[in-house]
Amino acid sequence: MSVQASRNHSAPWYGRVLYRAKLIGQEPTSVVGLLLILLFGWLIVVPVISLLSDAVLVQFGDERRTGAMTGEFTLYYLQRALFSPISELFFWSPLMNTLAVAFQVILFSLVIGGLLGWLVSRTNVFGKRWLATLLIVPYMIPAWTFALAWHNLFKNRSVGGQRGWVEAMGMTPPDWLAYGQIPIIVILTLNFIPFVILLFGNALRNLDSQLEESARILGASPRYIASRIVLPLMLPALTSASVLIFAKVLGEFGVAYVLGLPVDYNVLSTSLYRSIESRQTGMAAVLAGTIMLLGILSLMIDLYLIREAKRFVTLGGKSSLKRVTALGSWRMPASALAWVVFVVSVCVPLATLFLSTLMHVPGIWQWSNFTLDYWVGQDLRTIAMRQGILLTPELWQVVWNTVWIVGVSALIAGILGLLVGYVVVRSPVKGIGPVLRQITFFPYLVPGIAFAAAYLSLFAVPRGPIPALYGTYLILILALIADEMPFASRAGISAMMQLGRDPEEAARVAGARWWRRLLTIIVPIQKGALVTGILLPFISGINGLSLFIILSVPSTEVLTTYAIRLIDYHYTQAANAVVLLIVVLAIAGTLAAQKLTRTNLAEGLGR
């Protein structure tokens, strides 16, 4: 044998160091991982810390109130938010309102959504297949769209502008019906029903009906089976849905803004918006921190519940039998209920918005009242908006803004997401993967409005080498990327999980270096996942309101903020037209995503 044995005593001191360096040179996954951690530390962690620290540091201009210098530690904001004469108005009542809305929305959407989920997945309700798809439609449309429709229908003279439909037809809706808690609950419930249908329906679909049948053979009544077998097994899906709804309601801004503002009904997110608008940075930080804390708490509860549930829930059941329950004499009323929900939650709002763009005065069904002026009219006899919305150059500017701002950030988020997925799945260094996974998921816990506040707090002033970014496109793009990372990185991670190491290692043996492997092997194989990772953030970006409403300035306006501004100016028809454009974009985007990924949101329901 011509080989000399390598023994430690002859090893040079630098041997191991050189070895490490060579390995890293060939496998830079860990280095890329560290760079990604730095990037997301800057994009996600630093803004959040900066925001939270604003709550306990004296802000510029508050020196005299707090009796301390700018930047010093203070409990002034906490004290003022929680225990001062204004704290009721500023903090406690919005908090109570938020909780009241959240719990009622959870209750109603669970009851209605659960019932509908069962109807479309396990019974012979009429038009089951259609319902399974149609009932999901509200999921694709931003919630504040429905708020706008409600506003159009029920608004009364408490606010200016055009009359509402109901009022135009001769009835004046009372304030409690037009604004505040009740309409907010109704709108959010309608918006979250599809969510429950999806989660609950899928869980039901995975429930093997042999479980029910074996109980029946032992002599259990249907009611007993439902309460002792089905419900306990569905509990994880239901609690999971509740917690996620709670987290989403916390961050929901648009609905409360449209329907709460006229009667000074505030939730945490609108209160936060107001304090940001009035430059009360410290106070805003307290509110944002509260929202984040509640969000994190609810997600932790969800994780705990899921872990507990794993102990007894057996998911998967490939061969599980799905038995269809015949509804008998209840078939008619049950079907009617399902279709009514569809009509109320989709047809009525969209029709309202659409018709109102065609009518001079809402609710008057005369031929002369109909017009296309608001879409394509010219030289209208109005003070502003003297032409139809489609002829307004501003609209197209805003559409272009939206498409490129959201497009660029979705593209970057999608690529980063795949890269994150790669590092999380492949990193040989322990810790890098989990840390990256947690960081990129973190924005999910932070409602958009709090996140936007965090960005504002960090980038409103120059910090170190980074100039003040407020008012630039860049701050929007950065915030959007960060906000969309949870979806993008989830898509990337799950795609990479399914791809074994083998194809890549085969390329490595053949001589392809790291970047080459990424470009010629990973990206082409993960094309579908990459498209999803770009398209989903794109859709949510187009729908998104809360980030933009805080970070946009007139020159960086996007469709959603444009619509809100038109609403604020009471250009009802124009606003509705813009909203319809957004809805069309959102639905088309979702359908395109489903087509591309060959998945179906409603899959499993109604089959």
């Binding site: 044998m1 011509s2 080989v3 044995a5 390598s6 023994r7 430690n8 090893a11 040079p12 630098y14 041997g15 191991r16 160091v17 050189l18 070895y19 060579k22 390995l23 060939q26 322990k430 074994g500 083998d502 194809p503 290692e505 085969a506 390329a507 490595r508 043996v509 053949a510 001589g511 392809a512 080459r516 092997i521 082409p524 194989i525 094309k527």
Partner: protein
Amino acid sequence: MPTITLKAATKHYGKPDAPAINALDLFIEDGEFMCLLGPSGCGKTTTLRLIAGLENLSGGSLHLDSKPVDVPDHGHFVSPDKRKLGLVFQSYALWPHLSVRRNVEFGLRLQKKPKAEIQHATEAVMQTLGILDYAERYPSELSGGQQQRVALARMLVVNPGILLMDEPLSNLDARLRLQMRTELQRIHQQYQSTLVFVTHDQWEAMALATRIAVMHEGIIQQVGTPTDIYERPANRFVAEFIGSPPINMVELDHADADFKQALFQLLGEKVVQQTAAIGIRPEHIQVTNSTKAGTLGAIVLSEIPTGGQSICELACGNHNLLMTTSRASGLVPGTTVRIAIAVDALNCFDRQGQRISIASELQNSGSTLSQSGTNWQSASLPAHNTPYHSTQSTTL
């Protein structure tokens, strides 16, 4: 063609006290067909990946020829593509987005070879493996056997000196597997490469390899020719892992007095005192008409015909023995028979489970035993070919 030398090779994943490979020494000769055999989790695939360079050593050294390619203490690490080797994955790892042709020519393209040469080499190797007709198809449009050939072609086209294969036949059905075995042997001969092959299938290893390394828990248990491994297992693990139906392992602590007595006479006191267990291959037990001393009485428990041969379970004293016979033996469950055991085929293991050489003891005790290797050869042929009561074996 290169030799492969692993010295004190150790690989652990963050936990030095739980190594996947532990101080492994292995020398693979130029042009050898070496098989790494062992149950799942024994470290055989890790060893292969270490040789390929897809994993790196935690300690020890790996040389290809005399060139250090992975020596952590000296800072040597040569990347996989510079090691001039080819690897076939268990899953084949064909790139799903590339056609068969693109898959095969990938390596040559990376080497920036001239177009004409790439085309020529690619088509030649595809021709050899009979996949030229599928050149423009995608991997998902091929059957398992065809995918296997593409994986082989992709490996062979760059003309590597070392061929590494990770359970390449395990995803094929039985008939295709036989066919591919022949093909692999042909490739080995044609390319004159050093071939390292990982499998958990002992028949595959026996049929293909020139030498086998049996691995268990990250340690090589025995390296030897297939005959060595089967006939002279180095320890109890190898004895029990190799062979189907499995070897009969009789623990002497639990053996009854008759059995022990016979052993004393035959092997001598010294051997028996060292011996903790005795392994008897099922084909080395035979029903005999003789009732002379040394044969044992046994009760027939069951008989399972398996086509060419049949497997009988016998109760002999307080242990059960498996016996294979050439064809249906006609033994009736519940009846008593007398059995003879081929003594020179006995495997004795000490308390540590290591093999004890018994050849000299047998001669001392007067048993007829010819030169161990050759004698063994005939006894290991299917049992019906070997007359047990010949001079080659002694009844017990």
